[in-house]
Amino acid sequence: MTDPKDAPLVRLAGVGKNYGNVIALRDVDLEASAGEVTCVLGDNGAGKSTLIKIVAGLHRHDLGTYEVQGEPVAFSSPRDALDRGIATVYQDLAVVPLMPVWRNFFLGSEKRKGFGRMDITFMRRTAKREMAAMGIDLRDVDQPIGTLSGGERQCVAIARAVYFGAKALVLDEPTAALGVKQAGTVLRYIVQARERGLAVIFITHNPHHAYPVGDRFLILNRGRPIGYRTKEEITREELTALMAGGAELEELAHELDAAVSGSGSRAAKELAEGADHLRKSD
Protein backbone atom coordinates (compact mmCIF):
# COMPACT_ATOMS: atom_id res chain seq x y z
CA MET A 1 0.00 0.00 0.00
CA THR A 2 1.25 3.43 -0.87
CA ASP A 3 0.82 6.19 1.62
CA PRO A 4 -2.62 7.76 1.16
CA LYS A 5 -0.91 11.14 0.94
CA ASP A 6 0.99 10.11 -2.17
CA ALA A 7 -1.93 8.78 -4.20
CA PRO A 8 -5.26 10.55 -4.52
CA LEU A 9 -8.13 8.87 -2.69
CA VAL A 10 -10.04 8.30 -5.88
CA ARG A 11 -8.45 8.30 -9.30
CA LEU A 12 -10.08 7.47 -12.59
CA ALA A 13 -7.98 7.21 -15.74
CA GLY A 14 -9.46 6.80 -19.20
CA VAL A 15 -12.67 5.34 -17.78
CA GLY A 16 -15.43 4.41 -20.21
CA LYS A 17 -18.79 2.68 -20.04
CA ASN A 18 -21.18 1.27 -22.63
CA TYR A 19 -24.80 0.30 -22.24
CA GLY A 20 -25.27 -2.18 -25.06
CA ASN A 21 -24.13 -0.24 -28.11
CA VAL A 22 -24.71 3.13 -26.50
CA ILE A 23 -21.51 4.85 -25.41
CA ALA A 24 -22.42 6.45 -22.10
CA LEU A 25 -18.94 7.56 -21.01
CA ARG A 26 -15.49 7.86 -22.65
CA ASP A 27 -11.95 8.77 -21.59
CA VAL A 28 -12.76 10.26 -18.25
CA ASP A 29 -9.89 11.25 -15.96
CA LEU A 30 -10.71 12.34 -12.45
CA GLU A 31 -8.90 12.79 -9.15
CA ALA A 32 -10.26 13.48 -5.71
CA SER A 33 -7.88 13.96 -2.83
CA ALA A 34 -8.47 14.39 0.86
CA GLY A 35 -9.50 17.91 1.78
CA GLU A 36 -10.49 18.77 -1.76
CA VAL A 37 -13.74 19.20 -3.60
CA THR A 38 -13.81 17.89 -7.15
CA CYS A 39 -16.81 19.14 -9.07
CA VAL A 40 -18.28 17.21 -11.99
CA LEU A 41 -20.38 19.45 -14.18
CA GLY A 42 -22.53 18.72 -17.16
CA ASP A 43 -25.94 19.18 -18.62
CA ASN A 44 -28.61 16.47 -18.55
CA GLY A 45 -27.38 13.42 -20.42
CA ALA A 46 -23.74 14.41 -20.15
CA GLY A 47 -22.82 11.17 -18.38
CA LYS A 48 -22.73 12.47 -14.81
CA SER A 49 -24.98 9.77 -13.42
CA THR A 50 -23.08 7.03 -15.22
CA LEU A 51 -19.86 8.34 -13.73
CA ILE A 52 -21.33 8.47 -10.25
CA LYS A 53 -22.67 4.93 -10.54
CA ILE A 54 -19.22 3.67 -11.44
CA VAL A 55 -17.59 5.48 -8.53
CA ALA A 56 -20.33 4.31 -6.15
CA GLY A 57 -20.02 0.66 -7.18
CA LEU A 58 -23.49 0.32 -8.73
CA HIS A 59 -22.00 -0.27 -12.19
CA ARG A 60 -18.62 -1.57 -13.28
CA HIS A 61 -16.58 0.40 -15.80
CA ASP A 62 -15.74 -1.22 -19.14
CA LEU A 63 -12.59 0.73 -19.99
CA GLY A 64 -9.76 2.45 -18.13
CA THR A 65 -8.76 2.14 -14.50
CA TYR A 66 -10.40 3.05 -11.22
CA GLU A 67 -8.01 3.36 -8.30
CA VAL A 68 -8.70 3.91 -4.64
CA GLN A 69 -5.63 5.13 -2.76
CA GLY A 70 -3.47 3.94 -5.63
CA GLU A 71 -4.97 0.46 -5.77
CA PRO A 72 -7.02 -0.62 -8.81
CA VAL A 73 -10.56 -1.71 -7.91
CA ALA A 74 -13.66 -3.14 -9.63
CA PHE A 75 -16.62 -2.92 -7.27
CA SER A 76 -19.54 -5.30 -7.59
CA SER A 77 -21.89 -3.54 -5.18
CA PRO A 78 -22.26 -0.28 -3.30
CA ARG A 79 -21.31 -2.26 -0.19
CA ASP A 80 -17.82 -2.84 -1.66
CA ALA A 81 -17.40 0.86 -2.29
CA LEU A 82 -18.58 1.68 1.22
CA ASP A 83 -16.05 -0.76 2.64
CA ARG A 84 -13.32 1.16 0.86
CA GLY A 85 -14.57 4.41 2.36
CA ILE A 86 -16.45 5.72 -0.64
CA ALA A 87 -19.93 6.85 0.32
CA THR A 88 -22.46 8.14 -2.14
CA VAL A 89 -25.41 10.41 -1.45
CA TYR A 90 -27.99 10.35 -4.19
CA GLN A 91 -30.27 13.17 -5.14
CA ASP A 92 -33.45 11.11 -5.06
CA LEU A 93 -32.25 7.99 -3.26
CA ALA A 94 -30.83 9.63 -0.20
CA VAL A 95 -33.28 8.47 2.46
CA VAL A 96 -36.43 6.44 3.22
CA PRO A 97 -39.02 9.19 3.86
CA LEU A 98 -41.39 7.29 6.19
CA MET A 99 -38.63 6.11 8.55
CA PRO A 100 -37.50 8.08 11.59
CA VAL A 101 -34.33 10.14 11.29
CA TRP A 102 -32.26 7.84 13.49
CA ARG A 103 -33.27 4.72 11.58
CA ASN A 104 -32.32 6.42 8.35
CA PHE A 105 -29.04 7.57 9.82
CA PHE A 106 -27.97 4.02 10.63
CA LEU A 107 -29.73 2.21 7.78
CA GLY A 108 -27.53 -0.52 6.37
CA SER A 109 -24.91 -0.04 9.10
CA GLU A 110 -26.99 -0.65 12.20
CA LYS A 111 -25.19 -0.77 15.52
CA ARG A 112 -25.97 -4.08 17.21
CA LYS A 113 -25.53 -5.55 20.65
CA GLY A 114 -26.00 -9.30 20.19
CA PHE A 115 -28.97 -11.55 19.34
CA GLY A 116 -29.60 -9.32 16.34
CA ARG A 117 -30.77 -6.56 18.66
CA MET A 118 -30.01 -2.99 17.71
CA ASP A 119 -28.50 -0.61 20.23
CA ILE A 120 -31.33 1.84 19.91
CA THR A 121 -30.31 4.21 22.69
CA PHE A 122 -26.87 4.58 21.19
CA MET A 123 -28.23 5.06 17.69
CA ARG A 124 -30.73 7.72 18.68
CA ARG A 125 -28.19 9.62 20.72
CA THR A 126 -25.55 9.43 18.00
CA ALA A 127 -27.92 10.54 15.26
CA LYS A 128 -28.91 13.57 17.29
CA ARG A 129 -25.31 14.44 18.13
CA GLU A 130 -24.05 14.07 14.60
CA MET A 131 -26.86 16.17 13.22
CA ALA A 132 -26.14 18.82 15.80
CA ALA A 133 -22.49 18.76 14.75
CA MET A 134 -23.66 19.53 11.24
CA GLY A 135 -25.63 22.42 12.62
CA ILE A 136 -29.08 20.83 12.39
CA ASP A 137 -30.82 20.87 15.72
CA LEU A 138 -33.44 18.15 15.53
CA ARG A 139 -36.43 18.50 17.76
CA ASP A 140 -37.01 14.77 17.65
CA VAL A 141 -34.94 12.01 16.04
CA ASP A 142 -38.12 9.95 15.85
CA GLN A 143 -39.80 12.18 13.34
CA PRO A 144 -40.08 10.66 9.88
CA ILE A 145 -37.27 12.01 7.76
CA GLY A 146 -39.85 12.92 5.12
CA THR A 147 -40.95 15.76 7.38
CA LEU A 148 -37.54 17.45 7.13
CA SER A 149 -36.78 19.94 4.38
CA GLY A 150 -34.97 18.79 1.26
CA GLY A 151 -31.72 20.43 2.35
CA GLU A 152 -31.88 18.86 5.79
CA ARG A 153 -32.50 15.45 4.27
CA GLN A 154 -29.37 15.79 2.15
CA CYS A 155 -27.50 16.83 5.27
CA VAL A 156 -28.63 13.74 7.16
CA ALA A 157 -27.27 11.67 4.31
CA ILE A 158 -23.99 13.60 4.33
CA ALA A 159 -23.68 13.43 8.10
CA ARG A 160 -24.34 9.71 7.92
CA ALA A 161 -21.59 9.19 5.36
CA VAL A 162 -19.15 11.24 7.40
CA TYR A 163 -20.00 9.41 10.61
CA PHE A 164 -19.46 6.01 9.03
CA GLY A 165 -15.91 6.91 8.22
CA ALA A 166 -16.26 7.83 4.59
CA LYS A 167 -12.97 9.04 3.19
CA ALA A 168 -14.53 10.09 -0.05
CA LEU A 169 -18.00 11.52 -0.36
CA VAL A 170 -19.84 11.44 -3.67
CA LEU A 171 -22.76 13.86 -3.85
CA ASP A 172 -25.21 13.46 -6.70
CA GLU A 173 -26.90 16.79 -7.47
CA PRO A 174 -27.51 17.56 -3.80
CA THR A 175 -28.65 21.09 -4.64
CA ALA A 176 -30.73 20.39 -7.73
CA ALA A 177 -34.20 20.38 -6.26
CA LEU A 178 -33.54 23.02 -3.60
CA GLY A 179 -34.31 26.69 -3.20
CA VAL A 180 -31.49 29.24 -2.97
CA LYS A 181 -31.33 29.30 0.83
CA GLN A 182 -31.40 25.52 1.22
CA ALA A 183 -28.85 25.08 -1.53
CA GLY A 184 -26.64 27.45 0.47
CA THR A 185 -27.03 25.24 3.53
CA VAL A 186 -25.95 22.18 1.59
CA LEU A 187 -22.95 23.99 0.09
CA ARG A 188 -21.91 24.93 3.61
CA TYR A 189 -21.87 21.24 4.60
CA ILE A 190 -19.81 20.40 1.55
CA VAL A 191 -17.19 22.88 2.72
CA GLN A 192 -17.45 21.46 6.23
CA ALA A 193 -16.88 17.94 4.94
CA ARG A 194 -13.85 19.17 3.01
CA GLU A 195 -12.45 20.80 6.12
CA ARG A 196 -12.85 17.56 8.01
CA GLY A 197 -10.43 16.12 5.48
CA LEU A 198 -12.77 14.25 3.20
CA ALA A 199 -12.40 14.02 -0.54
CA VAL A 200 -15.66 15.31 -1.99
CA ILE A 201 -16.93 14.59 -5.50
CA PHE A 202 -19.71 17.05 -6.10
CA ILE A 203 -21.94 16.44 -9.10
CA THR A 204 -24.03 19.34 -10.28
CA HIS A 205 -25.24 21.11 -13.39
CA ASN A 206 -25.02 24.51 -11.74
CA PRO A 207 -21.61 26.22 -12.12
CA HIS A 208 -22.64 28.85 -9.57
CA HIS A 209 -22.97 26.16 -6.95
CA ALA A 210 -19.79 24.44 -8.05
CA TYR A 211 -17.38 27.34 -8.39
CA PRO A 212 -17.46 28.69 -4.81
CA VAL A 213 -16.72 25.30 -3.23
CA GLY A 214 -14.73 23.43 -5.87
CA ASP A 215 -10.97 22.87 -6.13
CA ARG A 216 -11.10 20.98 -9.44
CA PHE A 217 -13.68 20.95 -12.15
CA LEU A 218 -14.45 18.22 -14.65
CA ILE A 219 -16.88 19.26 -17.33
CA LEU A 220 -18.66 16.52 -19.25
CA ASN A 221 -20.58 16.81 -22.46
CA ARG A 222 -22.31 13.91 -24.21
CA GLY A 223 -20.28 11.34 -22.30
CA ARG A 224 -16.88 12.95 -22.93
CA PRO A 225 -14.77 15.33 -20.85
CA ILE A 226 -14.53 18.76 -22.44
CA GLY A 227 -12.44 20.28 -19.70
CA TYR A 228 -10.60 19.33 -16.51
CA ARG A 229 -9.18 22.32 -14.63
CA THR A 230 -8.05 23.36 -11.20
CA LYS A 231 -9.54 26.45 -9.68
CA GLU A 232 -6.48 28.55 -10.55
CA GLU A 233 -6.81 27.64 -14.18
CA ILE A 234 -10.38 28.76 -14.65
CA THR A 235 -12.66 31.69 -13.82
CA ARG A 236 -16.31 31.46 -12.99
CA GLU A 237 -17.23 32.92 -16.37
CA GLU A 238 -15.06 30.45 -18.23
CA LEU A 239 -16.58 27.62 -16.26
CA THR A 240 -20.09 28.80 -17.03
CA ALA A 241 -19.24 29.17 -20.67
CA LEU A 242 -17.56 25.78 -20.89
CA MET A 243 -20.39 24.15 -19.06
CA ALA A 244 -23.04 25.58 -21.35
CA GLY A 245 -21.28 24.42 -24.49
CA GLY A 246 -18.63 27.15 -24.84
CA ALA A 247 -18.88 28.65 -28.30
CA GLU A 248 -22.61 28.18 -28.47
CA LEU A 249 -23.12 30.33 -25.43
CA GLU A 250 -20.81 33.06 -26.68
CA GLU A 251 -22.81 33.16 -29.83
CA LEU A 252 -25.96 33.40 -27.78
CA ALA A 253 -24.50 36.22 -25.70
CA HIS A 254 -23.64 38.15 -28.83
CA GLU A 255 -27.10 37.67 -30.17
CA LEU A 256 -28.61 38.85 -26.91
CA ASP A 257 -26.27 41.84 -26.79
CA ALA A 258 -27.24 42.77 -30.28
CA ALA A 259 -30.94 42.31 -29.75
CA VAL A 260 -31.48 43.89 -26.33
CA SER A 261 -28.46 46.02 -25.61
CA GLY A 262 -26.84 45.01 -22.35
CA SER A 263 -29.55 42.82 -20.86
CA GLY A 264 -27.62 39.58 -21.36
CA SER A 265 -24.59 40.75 -19.43
CA ARG A 266 -26.76 42.18 -16.70
CA ALA A 267 -28.25 38.75 -16.14
CA ALA A 268 -24.73 37.31 -15.95
CA LYS A 269 -23.75 39.93 -13.41
CA GLU A 270 -26.72 39.09 -11.23
CA LEU A 271 -25.83 35.43 -11.32
CA ALA A 272 -22.27 36.24 -10.27
CA GLU A 273 -23.46 38.41 -7.40
CA GLY A 274 -25.74 35.64 -6.21
CA ALA A 275 -22.86 33.21 -6.11
CA ASP A 276 -20.64 35.70 -4.25
CA HIS A 277 -23.36 36.08 -1.70
CA LEU A 278 -23.45 32.32 -1.24
CA ARG A 279 -19.74 32.26 -0.63
CA LYS A 280 -19.94 35.02 1.97
CA SER A 281 -22.70 33.30 3.88
CA ASP A 282 -20.32 30.42 4.35
Binding site: A56, L58, S77, P78, R79, L82, T88, Y90, D92, L93, A94, V95, V96, P97, L98, M99, R103, F106, L107, G108, S109, E110, R112, G116, R117, M118, I120, T121, R124, R125, K128, R129, R139, D140, V141, D142, Q143, P144, G146, T147, R160
Partner: protein
Amino acid sequence: MTQAVAGPPAAVPDERLARESPLRRLLRRPEFGALLGAVAVFVFFSLVADAFLQADSFSTVLYASSTFGIMAVGVSLLMIGGEFDLSAGVMVTTAALVATLVSYQLTLNLWVGVAISLVVTLAIGALNGLLYIRTGLPSFIVTLATFFMLAGANLGVTKAVTGNVASDSVRDMDGFESARKVFASDVDVGGVNVKITVFWWLLFVGIATWILLRTRAGNWIFAVGGAAGSARAVGVPVARTKIGLFMGVAFCGWFSGMHLVFAFATVQSGEGVGNEFNYIICAVIGGCLLTGGYGSAIGAAIGAFIFGMVNKGIVYAEWNPDWFRFFLGAMLLIATVVNLIVRRRVERSA
Protein backbone atom coordinates in the same frame (compact mmCIF):
# COMPACT_ATOMS: atom_id res chain seq x y z
CA MET B 1 -44.66 -2.55 25.64
CA THR B 2 -43.16 -1.38 22.44
CA GLN B 3 -43.83 2.19 23.45
CA ALA B 4 -40.48 2.17 25.14
CA VAL B 5 -38.88 2.52 21.74
CA ALA B 6 -40.68 5.74 21.14
CA GLY B 7 -39.69 7.17 24.52
CA PRO B 8 -37.44 10.23 24.56
CA PRO B 9 -33.70 9.63 24.77
CA ALA B 10 -32.55 9.92 28.32
CA ALA B 11 -29.23 11.53 27.52
CA VAL B 12 -30.19 14.73 25.76
CA PRO B 13 -33.15 16.50 27.29
CA ASP B 14 -34.64 19.03 24.94
CA GLU B 15 -37.12 21.60 26.17
CA ARG B 16 -39.07 21.31 22.93
CA LEU B 17 -39.78 17.66 23.56
CA ALA B 18 -42.09 18.60 26.37
CA ARG B 19 -44.52 19.84 23.77
CA GLU B 20 -45.15 16.29 22.61
CA SER B 21 -47.60 14.74 25.02
CA PRO B 22 -47.96 10.98 25.52
CA LEU B 23 -51.29 11.27 23.71
CA ARG B 24 -49.56 12.69 20.66
CA ARG B 25 -47.11 9.79 20.72
CA LEU B 26 -49.98 7.33 20.82
CA LEU B 27 -51.67 9.16 17.96
CA ARG B 28 -48.59 8.72 15.86
CA ARG B 29 -48.49 4.93 16.17
CA PRO B 30 -49.60 3.25 12.95
CA GLU B 31 -52.08 1.09 14.84
CA PHE B 32 -53.84 3.97 16.53
CA GLY B 33 -56.70 4.20 14.01
CA ALA B 34 -57.26 0.46 14.29
CA LEU B 35 -57.27 0.65 18.09
CA LEU B 36 -60.02 3.26 17.97
CA GLY B 37 -61.95 1.05 15.56
CA ALA B 38 -61.53 -2.01 17.77
CA VAL B 39 -62.85 -0.15 20.81
CA ALA B 40 -65.81 1.12 18.79
CA VAL B 41 -66.66 -2.34 17.42
CA PHE B 42 -66.29 -3.91 20.86
CA VAL B 43 -68.55 -1.38 22.55
CA PHE B 44 -71.03 -1.68 19.72
CA PHE B 45 -71.40 -5.45 19.90
CA SER B 46 -71.37 -5.41 23.70
CA LEU B 47 -74.45 -3.24 23.51
CA VAL B 48 -76.36 -5.11 20.82
CA ALA B 49 -75.48 -8.72 21.69
CA ASP B 50 -76.00 -10.01 25.22
CA ALA B 51 -73.85 -13.09 24.75
CA PHE B 52 -70.91 -11.09 23.42
CA LEU B 53 -69.51 -10.16 26.82
CA GLN B 54 -69.45 -13.68 28.30
CA ALA B 55 -65.99 -15.12 28.83
CA ASP B 56 -66.72 -18.16 26.66
CA SER B 57 -67.93 -16.00 23.82
CA PHE B 58 -64.89 -13.81 24.07
CA SER B 59 -62.72 -16.88 23.84
CA THR B 60 -64.54 -17.88 20.64
CA VAL B 61 -64.02 -14.40 19.18
CA LEU B 62 -60.34 -14.65 20.06
CA TYR B 63 -60.09 -18.04 18.35
CA ALA B 64 -61.67 -16.68 15.17
CA SER B 65 -59.34 -13.67 15.35
CA SER B 66 -56.29 -15.85 15.89
CA THR B 67 -56.87 -17.94 12.77
CA PHE B 68 -56.88 -14.74 10.72
CA GLY B 69 -54.30 -13.10 12.94
CA ILE B 70 -51.53 -15.69 12.68
CA MET B 71 -51.50 -15.26 8.90
CA ALA B 72 -51.87 -11.50 9.21
CA VAL B 73 -48.55 -11.41 11.11
CA GLY B 74 -46.59 -12.67 8.11
CA VAL B 75 -48.73 -10.79 5.61
CA SER B 76 -48.34 -7.48 7.45
CA LEU B 77 -44.55 -7.77 7.61
CA LEU B 78 -44.55 -8.54 3.89
CA MET B 79 -46.77 -5.53 3.23
CA ILE B 80 -44.49 -3.27 5.27
CA GLY B 81 -41.75 -4.67 3.04
CA GLY B 82 -43.76 -3.41 0.08
CA GLU B 83 -45.13 -6.68 -1.33
CA PHE B 84 -48.27 -8.81 -1.52
CA ASP B 85 -48.75 -12.54 -1.34
CA LEU B 86 -51.96 -13.69 -2.98
CA SER B 87 -50.99 -17.33 -2.52
CA ALA B 88 -51.20 -17.02 1.29
CA GLY B 89 -54.74 -18.44 1.50
CA VAL B 90 -54.25 -21.63 -0.50
CA MET B 91 -50.74 -22.07 0.89
CA VAL B 92 -52.38 -22.92 4.23
CA THR B 93 -54.30 -25.73 2.55
CA THR B 94 -51.17 -26.86 0.72
CA ALA B 95 -49.25 -27.07 3.99
CA ALA B 96 -52.05 -29.08 5.60
CA LEU B 97 -52.39 -31.42 2.62
CA VAL B 98 -48.65 -32.07 2.43
CA ALA B 99 -48.55 -33.07 6.09
CA THR B 100 -51.59 -35.37 5.91
CA LEU B 101 -50.90 -36.93 2.52
CA VAL B 102 -47.25 -37.66 3.24
CA SER B 103 -47.95 -39.11 6.68
CA TYR B 104 -50.97 -41.13 5.60
CA GLN B 105 -49.67 -42.53 2.35
CA LEU B 106 -46.29 -43.52 3.77
CA THR B 107 -47.77 -44.43 7.17
CA LEU B 108 -45.30 -42.21 9.00
CA ASN B 109 -45.49 -40.55 12.36
CA LEU B 110 -47.40 -37.30 11.85
CA TRP B 111 -44.48 -35.26 13.14
CA VAL B 112 -42.53 -36.35 10.07
CA GLY B 113 -45.34 -35.01 7.89
CA VAL B 114 -45.32 -31.80 9.92
CA ALA B 115 -41.59 -31.36 9.32
CA ILE B 116 -41.81 -32.16 5.61
CA SER B 117 -44.69 -29.74 5.30
CA LEU B 118 -42.55 -27.01 6.90
CA VAL B 119 -39.78 -27.60 4.39
CA VAL B 120 -42.17 -27.65 1.42
CA THR B 121 -44.06 -24.55 2.54
CA LEU B 122 -40.90 -22.56 3.21
CA ALA B 123 -39.67 -23.61 -0.23
CA ILE B 124 -42.87 -22.26 -1.78
CA GLY B 125 -42.32 -18.97 0.07
CA ALA B 126 -38.73 -18.83 -1.12
CA LEU B 127 -39.91 -19.59 -4.65
CA ASN B 128 -42.38 -16.70 -4.48
CA GLY B 129 -39.56 -14.42 -3.39
CA LEU B 130 -37.07 -15.68 -5.95
CA LEU B 131 -39.60 -15.39 -8.78
CA TYR B 132 -40.33 -11.85 -7.70
CA ILE B 133 -36.67 -10.89 -7.52
CA ARG B 134 -35.62 -12.68 -10.70
CA THR B 135 -38.48 -11.61 -12.97
CA GLY B 136 -38.86 -8.10 -11.60
CA LEU B 137 -42.63 -8.51 -12.06
CA PRO B 138 -44.93 -7.06 -9.40
CA SER B 139 -45.41 -9.49 -6.51
CA PHE B 140 -49.14 -9.19 -7.17
CA ILE B 141 -48.68 -10.99 -10.51
CA VAL B 142 -46.08 -13.50 -9.35
CA THR B 143 -48.09 -14.66 -6.35
CA LEU B 144 -51.32 -14.65 -8.36
CA ALA B 145 -49.63 -17.23 -10.55
CA THR B 146 -48.53 -19.33 -7.56
CA PHE B 147 -52.04 -18.93 -6.11
CA PHE B 148 -53.55 -20.59 -9.18
CA MET B 149 -50.86 -23.23 -9.37
CA LEU B 150 -51.21 -24.16 -5.70
CA ALA B 151 -55.02 -24.19 -5.87
CA GLY B 152 -54.80 -26.53 -8.85
CA ALA B 153 -52.08 -28.71 -7.35
CA ASN B 154 -54.02 -29.02 -4.07
CA LEU B 155 -56.93 -30.57 -5.94
CA GLY B 156 -54.97 -32.48 -8.53
CA VAL B 157 -52.50 -34.10 -6.16
CA THR B 158 -55.12 -34.94 -3.53
CA LYS B 159 -57.37 -36.53 -6.12
CA ALA B 160 -54.50 -38.45 -7.68
CA VAL B 161 -53.21 -39.72 -4.35
CA THR B 162 -56.39 -40.43 -2.39
CA GLY B 163 -58.97 -40.74 -5.17
CA ASN B 164 -61.11 -38.23 -3.27
CA VAL B 165 -61.05 -34.47 -2.92
CA ALA B 166 -60.33 -34.53 0.79
CA SER B 167 -57.35 -36.08 2.56
CA ASP B 168 -57.88 -39.23 4.62
CA SER B 169 -58.44 -38.78 8.33
CA VAL B 170 -55.22 -38.88 10.33
CA ARG B 171 -56.95 -38.84 13.70
CA ASP B 172 -55.82 -42.34 14.76
CA MET B 173 -52.23 -42.02 13.57
CA ASP B 174 -49.06 -41.82 15.66
CA GLY B 175 -48.18 -38.34 16.74
CA PHE B 176 -51.69 -36.96 16.32
CA GLU B 177 -52.33 -36.45 20.00
CA SER B 178 -48.96 -34.87 20.76
CA ALA B 179 -49.12 -32.59 17.71
CA ARG B 180 -52.68 -31.67 18.56
CA LYS B 181 -51.42 -30.45 21.93
CA VAL B 182 -49.10 -28.07 20.13
CA PHE B 183 -51.29 -26.88 17.28
CA ALA B 184 -54.92 -27.27 18.28
CA SER B 185 -55.44 -27.86 22.00
CA ASP B 186 -57.47 -25.95 24.55
CA VAL B 187 -55.88 -24.12 27.45
CA ASP B 188 -57.81 -23.57 30.63
CA VAL B 189 -57.55 -19.94 31.72
CA GLY B 190 -59.49 -19.39 34.91
CA GLY B 191 -62.24 -21.81 33.93
CA VAL B 192 -62.48 -20.58 30.36
CA ASN B 193 -61.30 -22.74 27.49
CA VAL B 194 -59.01 -20.72 25.28
CA LYS B 195 -57.65 -22.17 22.05
CA ILE B 196 -53.90 -22.52 21.95
CA THR B 197 -53.84 -20.67 18.62
CA VAL B 198 -54.65 -17.52 20.56
CA PHE B 199 -51.41 -17.81 22.52
CA TRP B 200 -49.39 -18.67 19.45
CA TRP B 201 -50.91 -15.67 17.75
CA LEU B 202 -49.87 -13.36 20.59
CA LEU B 203 -46.40 -14.88 20.61
CA PHE B 204 -46.00 -14.41 16.86
CA VAL B 205 -47.20 -10.82 17.08
CA GLY B 206 -44.69 -10.23 19.87
CA ILE B 207 -41.83 -11.74 17.90
CA ALA B 208 -42.77 -9.84 14.75
CA THR B 209 -42.99 -6.58 16.67
CA TRP B 210 -39.64 -7.21 18.26
CA ILE B 211 -38.09 -7.94 14.87
CA LEU B 212 -39.62 -4.83 13.34
CA LEU B 213 -38.70 -2.37 16.04
CA ARG B 214 -35.62 -3.75 17.70
CA THR B 215 -33.57 -5.61 15.15
CA ARG B 216 -31.56 -4.77 12.09
CA ALA B 217 -33.85 -7.00 10.01
CA GLY B 218 -36.77 -4.81 11.06
CA ASN B 219 -34.96 -1.70 9.94
CA TRP B 220 -34.36 -3.36 6.60
CA ILE B 221 -38.02 -4.39 6.26
CA PHE B 222 -39.18 -0.79 6.69
CA ALA B 223 -36.48 0.39 4.31
CA VAL B 224 -37.12 -2.06 1.44
CA GLY B 225 -40.82 -1.24 1.60
CA GLY B 226 -40.40 2.51 1.96
CA ALA B 227 -37.75 3.10 -0.68
CA ALA B 228 -36.04 0.01 -2.05
CA GLY B 229 -33.64 2.08 -4.16
CA SER B 230 -32.42 4.11 -1.19
CA ALA B 231 -32.09 0.96 0.88
CA ARG B 232 -29.99 -0.73 -1.78
CA ALA B 233 -27.80 2.36 -2.11
CA VAL B 234 -26.84 2.28 1.57
CA GLY B 235 -26.04 -1.42 1.44
CA VAL B 236 -29.28 -3.10 2.59
CA PRO B 237 -29.61 -6.57 0.98
CA VAL B 238 -32.99 -5.89 -0.63
CA ALA B 239 -33.40 -9.26 -2.37
CA ARG B 240 -32.52 -11.24 0.74
CA THR B 241 -34.88 -9.21 2.91
CA LYS B 242 -37.81 -9.63 0.53
CA ILE B 243 -37.27 -13.36 0.08
CA GLY B 244 -37.14 -13.65 3.87
CA LEU B 245 -40.48 -11.86 4.12
CA PHE B 246 -42.13 -14.21 1.63
CA MET B 247 -40.76 -17.09 3.68
CA GLY B 248 -42.21 -15.48 6.79
CA VAL B 249 -45.67 -15.61 5.21
CA ALA B 250 -44.99 -19.23 4.28
CA PHE B 251 -44.07 -20.03 7.89
CA CYS B 252 -47.36 -18.57 9.11
CA GLY B 253 -49.12 -20.54 6.37
CA TRP B 254 -47.45 -23.69 7.57
CA PHE B 255 -48.53 -23.06 11.14
CA SER B 256 -52.13 -22.33 10.11
CA GLY B 257 -52.08 -25.46 7.97
CA MET B 258 -50.95 -27.55 10.94
CA HIS B 259 -53.83 -26.11 12.94
CA LEU B 260 -56.21 -27.27 10.20
CA VAL B 261 -54.74 -30.77 10.27
CA PHE B 262 -54.85 -31.26 14.00
CA ALA B 263 -58.14 -29.48 14.61
CA PHE B 264 -60.09 -31.26 11.85
CA ALA B 265 -58.02 -34.39 11.00
CA THR B 266 -59.09 -34.29 7.35
CA VAL B 267 -58.36 -31.45 4.95
CA GLN B 268 -60.70 -30.37 2.15
CA SER B 269 -58.46 -29.68 -0.83
CA GLY B 270 -60.54 -26.77 -2.15
CA GLU B 271 -60.30 -24.73 1.02
CA GLY B 272 -58.50 -21.47 1.60
CA VAL B 273 -59.38 -19.69 -1.63
CA GLY B 274 -60.32 -16.09 -0.90
CA ASN B 275 -58.71 -15.96 2.53
CA GLU B 276 -55.64 -14.15 1.19
CA PHE B 277 -57.73 -11.00 0.95
CA ASN B 278 -58.93 -11.37 4.52
CA TYR B 279 -55.32 -11.33 5.70
CA ILE B 280 -54.57 -8.24 3.63
CA ILE B 281 -57.71 -6.59 5.02
CA CYS B 282 -56.51 -7.30 8.59
CA ALA B 283 -53.15 -5.69 7.81
CA VAL B 284 -54.72 -2.67 6.14
CA ILE B 285 -57.27 -2.09 8.91
CA GLY B 286 -54.31 -2.31 11.26
CA GLY B 287 -52.58 0.61 9.57
CA CYS B 288 -50.23 -1.02 7.05
CA LEU B 289 -49.83 1.09 3.94
CA LEU B 290 -50.64 -0.72 0.69
CA THR B 291 -47.59 0.98 -0.80
CA GLY B 292 -45.28 -0.39 1.89
CA GLY B 293 -42.83 1.12 4.34
CA TYR B 294 -45.32 1.78 7.10
CA GLY B 295 -47.35 -0.30 9.51
CA SER B 296 -47.02 -2.63 12.47
CA ALA B 297 -47.61 -6.22 13.47
CA ILE B 298 -49.63 -5.07 16.47
CA GLY B 299 -51.86 -3.12 14.10
CA ALA B 300 -52.44 -6.21 12.00
CA ALA B 301 -53.33 -8.11 15.17
CA ILE B 302 -55.88 -5.45 16.05
CA GLY B 303 -57.15 -5.69 12.49
CA ALA B 304 -57.60 -9.43 12.90
CA PHE B 305 -59.34 -8.85 16.22
CA ILE B 306 -61.79 -6.43 14.58
CA PHE B 307 -62.32 -8.96 11.81
CA GLY B 308 -63.03 -11.71 14.33
CA MET B 309 -65.34 -9.50 16.40
CA VAL B 310 -67.43 -8.52 13.38
CA ASN B 311 -67.43 -12.08 12.06
CA LYS B 312 -68.70 -13.59 15.30
CA GLY B 313 -70.51 -10.51 16.62
CA ILE B 314 -73.05 -10.84 13.85
CA VAL B 315 -73.76 -14.40 15.03
CA TYR B 316 -74.11 -13.30 18.66
CA ALA B 317 -76.33 -10.40 17.66
CA GLU B 318 -78.40 -12.83 15.56
CA TRP B 319 -78.36 -10.52 12.60
CA ASN B 320 -78.96 -11.28 8.99
CA PRO B 321 -75.49 -12.30 7.80
CA ASP B 322 -76.29 -11.14 4.27
CA TRP B 323 -74.88 -7.83 5.45
CA PHE B 324 -71.59 -9.19 6.80
CA ARG B 325 -69.57 -8.23 3.76
CA PHE B 326 -71.19 -4.84 3.67
CA PHE B 327 -70.02 -4.23 7.24
CA LEU B 328 -66.61 -5.51 6.37
CA GLY B 329 -66.31 -3.15 3.43
CA ALA B 330 -67.54 -0.20 5.47
CA MET B 331 -65.09 -1.07 8.24
CA LEU B 332 -62.22 -1.26 5.79
CA LEU B 333 -63.11 2.10 4.33
CA ILE B 334 -63.48 3.79 7.71
CA ALA B 335 -60.27 2.26 9.04
CA THR B 336 -58.18 3.36 6.10
CA VAL B 337 -59.66 6.86 6.05
CA VAL B 338 -59.04 7.26 9.79
CA ASN B 339 -55.47 6.07 9.29
CA LEU B 340 -54.97 8.53 6.48
CA ILE B 341 -56.35 11.48 8.44
CA VAL B 342 -54.39 10.64 11.57
CA ARG B 343 -51.16 10.29 9.68
CA ARG B 344 -51.63 13.52 7.75
CA ARG B 345 -52.45 15.48 10.88
CA VAL B 346 -49.48 14.12 12.74
CA GLU B 347 -47.14 14.77 9.86
CA ARG B 348 -48.35 18.32 9.45
CA SER B 349 -48.02 19.15 13.13
CA ALA B 350 -44.61 17.47 13.45
